[in-house]
């Protein structure tokens, strides 16, 4: 469904991603790995239409979406769980979810929000609470829930587990697994290499904006030199 060809992206004169290509099918998880500053977040934000794309193509079901604004990409079925969660802290939980469904009609929005609460019942208990007052784990749940409201087919997830308790991490990964089994395609950026390799189908490794390795997650897990060379000791 997603076919990225020779993607380059950056900020003004800074090039953060160079000539990056990969393929993603429905119901698959691609883990995007690399050390700090490798260009993982920049890649996701470029796919979403927020960071400036400098070259290459982003084909979604064969159609190049490179020039579409974010709202059109969401309509095509993309959504993001951004690095650092970036929930709207002054807004309530319910309002954050409303933003997640900003581009959908009222009935779809209602269904989407109900769905998010189903995935994360703890959010439902806190629907009127200011998002900024949630715990870190709840904020991550809200960030995921917010992305799900528009009912995406392709989910971009940045740093799912960072700073969270193991129990919460498990809960979030359970949701991802469920989404995948429903046919969702997921790009997962994860600091926790072990965790990422365990859940992913495919792996791409970035180093200083360049793609340096790609293949199946099983191959990546068996390739101890890969882990040592590009990801630091796991």
């Amino acid at each position: 469904m997603l076919d990225v060809k020779n993607l380059s992206a950056g900020y003004g004169d800074i090039v953060a991603v160079r000539d990056f290509s990969f393929l993603l099918k429905p119901g698959k998880i691609l883990a995007l790995l690399g050390v700090n500053g490798a260009g993982k977040s920049s890649t996701l934000m470029t796919l979403m239409g927020i960071v400036e794309q400098k070259g290459g193509e982003i084909l979604l079901d064969g159609v190049d979406i490179s020039n579409l604004a974010a709202n059109r990409r969401i309509r095509q079925g993309m959504a993001i769980v951004p690095e650092g969660r970036r929930i709207f802290s002054d807004l309530s939980v319910q309002e954050n979810l409303t933003i997640g469904g900003h581009i959908v009609d009222a009935a779809t929005l209602k269904r989407g929000i109900a769905q998010a609460y189903e995935y994360f019942p703890r959010l439902a208990e806190r629907m009127g609470q200011k998002a900024g007052s949630l715990s870190g784990g709840e904020q991550q749940m809200l960030a995921i829930g917010r992305a799900l409201v528009s009912n995406p087919r392709l989910l971009l997830v940045d740093e799912l587990s960072l700073g969270l308790m193991p129990k919460i991490i498990d809960e979030c990964y359970d949701v991802l697994a469920k989404l995948r089994s429903d046919g969702m395609a997921i790009i997962l950026v994860e600091q926790n290499t072990e965790r990422a390799l365990a859940v992913a189908d495919d792996v791409a490794v970035l180093e200083a904006g360049n793609s340096v390795w790609s293949g199946s997650a099983a191959d990546a897990a068996n390739d101890s030199s890969l882990v040592e060379t590009f990801l630091g000791t796991a």
Partner: protein, 287 residues
């Protein structure tokens, strides 16, 4: 009873400050620009109000026309003056804003003449006795009424509508708002429309209370509104309203009790300095 009178007069003045200063807060909250030229839109509102009332005889129509026309001018100010400067340091937009404000006085002078305009047949001049010996003009009651209606409408819009929620989300994190498909350009236009329309209605009302609009009508409100938004804790809507009413009331009492020391407009700044010494983040500001 004198206290109550002064208090109510203070509320009337504070309502006007609130209508003006709120627009500044909205612009600052969204773009981090100190929108000095806002006061020019206030003056423009006053002119349009007087001209439309005098030509059509309808004061309500004048209010609506002033709000819509000035709202559109406010959108144009954003598009032409601020948008090209958004990627520069904020003081550049501030300089542009000051220039625009100064130029606007001259434009008013050229278009409407140097001596100001008045209502030929000023509406709402009747008075009503609130209690023995204390009367308010209908116009003054209207000021408070309009302030309450406008602010309630705004509160409803921002809390209960999807547009309002998107607006607040954009204020919190514009990039993320865009990532969820919010057209932040439209949010900015809406923001300037509302801010400017509020200033316009304040201009029409001040023109009514003074029965005069002149080119320099915006100069005192321009700096006073800046004082108010600093006092309210930059960007805080509630703080702006509290500071507006507080300033109105303090001026009202101050002119009676310390008027021989400090003139009305100097009081505003004495108050500002005093509060900022105790609470540098403003009355309701965070940190």
């Amino acid at each position: 009873m004198l206290y109550l009178e002064l208090f109510i007069q203070g509320l009337v003045q504070g309502s006007i400050y609130g209508l003006i200063a709120l627009g500044l807060t909205l612009v600052y909250g969204l773009l981090r620009i100190l929108h000095v030229a806002h006061a020019a839109l206030f003056t423009l509102g006053g002119y349009i109000g007087v001209v439309v009332t005098n030509t059509t005889g309808s004061f309500p129509l004048a209010i609506v026309v002033a709000m819509v026309a000035v709202g559109l001018v406010g959108m144009a100010v954003y598009k032409l003056a601020y948008e090209p400067l958004l990627h520069r340091p904020p003081y550049i937009a501030l300089i542009a804003s000051i220039a625009l404000f100064i130029a606007s006085e001259e434009i008013f002078r050229i278009v409407f003449g140097p001596f100001g305009l008045s209502y030929i047949d000023p509406p709402l001049q009747g008075q009503i006795e609130i209690f023995a010996g204390f009367r308010l003009k209908y116009g003054e009651i209207l000021v408070m009424g309009i302030a309450i209606v406008m602010l309630s409408a705004l509160a409803w819009l921002s809390a209960k509508t999807r547009t309002g929620i998107a607006w607040r989300a954009t204020v919190t994190d514009p990039e993320m708002a865009a990532a969820f498909g919010i057209n932040i350009q439209n949010v900015r236009y809406l923001n300037f429309f509302i801010a400017s329309a509020l200033a316009a209605v304040a201009g029409v009302l001040v023109a009514l209370l003074n029965n005069l609009v002149e080119p320099t009508m915006g100069s005192v409100p321009s700096y006073k509104a800046l004082a108010i938004i600093v006092l309210g804790g930059l960007g805080s809507i509630r703080g702006t309203l509290v500071a507006s009413l507080a300033l109105g009331i303090i001026e009202s009492f101050g002119t009676i009790y310390v008027g021989h020391l400090l003139d009305r407009d100097a009081l505003a700044f004495a108050f500002l300095i005093l509060i900022l010494m105790v609470r540098p983040q403003g009355l309701l500001g965070g940190k």
